[in-house]
């Protein structure tokens, strides 16, 4: 009963002077209002608890650093801090949206497994087999350059050294190899996509 007679301003002043018990009285006096205010915005007990804690950490630091300007408005000031922290909380959540895997929304429609499934693996193998067969149909010099470049991962310099032709000739053979492959693919309407 006696506690209620001491105003917030006096308690704040006492706290700044070093009376730690004044803070306990202030928290006890206003905790329900502040907590309810935060809860009315976020509707989550744990988040409310976090924001309540952060609010008072800010209050404590401001008071101890002597930055608080006493105007007899302790509670509105604390409420403003809580309000700002609630806004910060929602801003942070907008930047990193959370997905609940409910019935209306499936997280796997956004995140997919990039590895191939069994069907796609088989199709990929078939496409690669078809490409190999097409390469076999190419003239020997073009086939040689294409195999060295694409399958052996050799540079055109290395190809020219291995085949005994100039780099320009190797480049030309590669170009014709690709043109010829495209021609055959178009002619026979071969589908080489997964």
């Amino acid at each position: 009963m006696k506690q209620e007679l001491i105003t917030d301003a006096v308690l704040v002043s006492n706290y700044i002077k070093g009376h730690e018990s004044a803070l306990a009285v202030l928290i006890e006096r206003h905790k329900q209002k502040i907590y309810s205010f935060i809860y009315s915005k976020v509707f989550d007990r744990d988040i409310t608890e976090d924001i309540f804690q952060d609010t008072f950490i800010k209050v404590i630091r401001t008071l101890k650093l002597g930055k608080y300007n006493e105007e007899g408005k302790f509670l509105p000031w604390v409420m403003r801090i809580a309000h700002n922290l609630v806004i910060d909380h929602f801003r942070k959540n907008n930047r990193m949206p959370k997905f609940d895997n409910g019935q209306e929304f499936n997280i796997f429609s956004v995140i997919s497994d990039s590895s191939l499934n069994a069907e796609k693996t088989i199709i990929k193998e078939q496409v690669e087999q078809d490409v190999r067969r097409l390469i076999e149909e190419l003239p020997e010099d073009q086939k040689q350059v294409l195999v060295m470049r694409m399958y052996n991962d050799m540079s055109f310099k290395e190809i020219s050294e291995n085949t005994g032709v100039s780099i320009n000739t190797a480049l030309g053979r590669m170009r014709y190899a690709l043109i010829n492959l495209r021609k055959v693919i178009d002619k026979h309407n071969i589908v080489l996509t997964n």
């Binding site: 730690e20 928290i27 905790k31 329900q32 809860y39 608890e49 101890k64």
Partner: protein, 47 residues
């Protein structure tokens, strides 16, 4: 008899922070000290 869709106010739990949260804040306050040094203020958290 008509159904009542409002909760009995007695059953509303009071919204207040956990005891641990309040204790944490009081301990934090006790541990925090501000050191003044040449117009500069430093915060020290002593556990």
């Amino acid at each position: 008899m008509a159904k009542l869709y409002i909760k009995d106010s007695k059953h509303f739990e009071t919204l207040k922070p956990k005891e641990e949260t309040v204790n944490f804040l009081l301990n934090y306050s006790r541990a925090l000290s501000v050191i003044n040094c040449n117009k500069l203020k430093f915060e020290a958290l002593l556990n």
